[in-house]
């Protein structure tokens, strides 16, 4: 029995090592790529547009909608999309060096984070019309206030609260994993969807129904 248990431990440990090893490599690669862009500006001379330190990204709901569409496994239009930039920690502590509790945060970098609803959407008790919005957030230790705002095509630095459409308070969960890059995705949840916002050791989820 003891041998069985020890061999199980060894097996699991090695499996675990492999996985975390792989993840580390991926993390290092992405980190490296970005560092090159920052520290070797001669590699990044671009008179048109420099490559951003915080790369932009896009997430759809249903998840991977463009691939589903390409594979012809969906005929329905998409329901939602977010376009945001992905700042990274680079050794900084999220709620010490980067963000402050109680101060508005743009939930991204550079251009304001954009949320497109292709259909009318219900969030908490509010009906949100199909259309384009921007998002920002007021983080606290145990909850985030997620703000939907109409000042679209703007830059994230100075949200204009006079253009707020709705505010939603959601709880914050502490995560074990350290997430280097800020991440927004949609995930399916109990028949509906959640907008998942995660960075560092925290994760907030905004439930949506379509």
């Amino acid at each position: 029995m003891r041998i069985l248990v020890s061999s199980l431990i060894i097996l699991l440990l090695s499996a675990c090592d492999n996985k975390s090893g792989q993840e580390k490599t991926t993390g290092q690669e992405t980190g490296k790529r970005d560092t090159i862009a920052i520290t070797n500006p001669e590699n990044n001379i671009n008179p048109y547009v420099q490559v951003d330190v915080s790369p932009m990204d896009m997430s759809y709901y249903p998840a991977d909608y463009p691939k589903l569409k390409m594979a012809k496994s969906t005929n329905a239009p998409p329901l939602a999309r977010v376009i945001y930039s992905r700042p990274h920690l680079q050794g900084r502590q999220l709620f010490h060096d980067v963000l402050k509790y109680g101060e508005p945060w743009r939930l991204g970098a550079n251009e304001a984070t954009e949320l497109d609803f292709y259909t009318n959407t219900r969030i908490q008790d509010k009906n949100i019309k199909a259309g384009r919005y921007i998002l920002y957030c007021i983080p606290e230790a145990d909850k985030w206030t997620i703000v939907l705002n109409s000042n679209i095509d703007s830059w994230g630095l100075e949200p204009d609260p006079s253009k707020d459409i709705a505010r939603f308070v959601v709880p914050v969960k502490q995560t074990n994993n350290l997430l280097e890059f800020f991440t927004i995705v949609f995930q399916q949840a109990a028949g509906n969807a959640e907008l998942v916002m995660a960075w560092g050791h925290v994760e907030a989820r905004l439930p949506l129904s379509f």
């Binding site: 993840e23 790529r33 547009v49 790369p55 998409p78 095509d153």
Partner: protein
């Protein structure tokens, strides 16, 4: 008792391994970017410095050369190229515009190109929210227009797109490696 603790430890390790496999997406190799016309419109907007109305925005991913031969190599001559990476390159017009004499209604479109040595055919297509050019459907083309290839002075590591003001509107400049083209947009 010892056995129970060991078993518990095993399960805990197993559990830790499971959560270590995060289901959140990694950072793309070809980062996405966007350009507006008027240039830097979002910055001008928060500074209250807008003088001209919003006309266009392009959202595209930026593959890198990484030592490869690009045009005629990675991007084959005569084939439809997605002019980006990952999600299909998107152009949005916020007002009606004209390209090559044809009226293009405001709205979102996907951009492709057929690249040749001396000219590119730029394709504006109605099939939005798709991936790359793998299922490109010519029936959804809005316009195809040919533009000449210009040699650029600098070698660009990353694909770049930017708008430049012209006397009749703006050009969408698309540049990568040692090549650039300009798509005239009139409004």
């Amino acid at each position: 008792m010892k056995k129970t603790i060991t078993l518990l430890a095993v399960f805990q390790l197993f559990f830790l391994c499971l959560i270590a496999q995060s289901n959140l997406p990694p950072v793309d190799k070809s980062p996405m970017d966007m350009s507006y016309y008027p240039n830097s419109y979002p910055v001008l907007k928060i500074q209250d410095k807008i003088t001209d109305p919003l006309v266009a925005r392009v959202v595209y991913s930026r593959p890198q050369k990484t030592g490869r031969a690009i045009f005629g190599g990675l991007v084959k001559y005569g084939e439809v190229w997605r002019m980006g990476a990952n999600e299909a390159t998107e152009i949005e017009f916020f007002k009606n515009v004209h390209i090559d004499g044809k009226k293009i209604s405001r709205g979102r479109y996907t951009l492709y190109a057929v690249v040749n040595e001396t000219s590119w055919t730029i394709i504006v297509n109605k099939e939005t929210d798709t991936w790359g050019s793998f299922k490109y459907n010519a029936k959804k083309d809005v316009i195809r227009t040919e533009v000449p290839v210009q040699k650029s002075d600098v070698m660009l590591e990353s694909l770049a797109m930017a708008f430049e003001k012209t006397t009749t509107g703006c050009n969408l400049v698309i540049a990568w490696d040692n090549v650039k083209v300009a798509l005239p947009i009139n409004f």
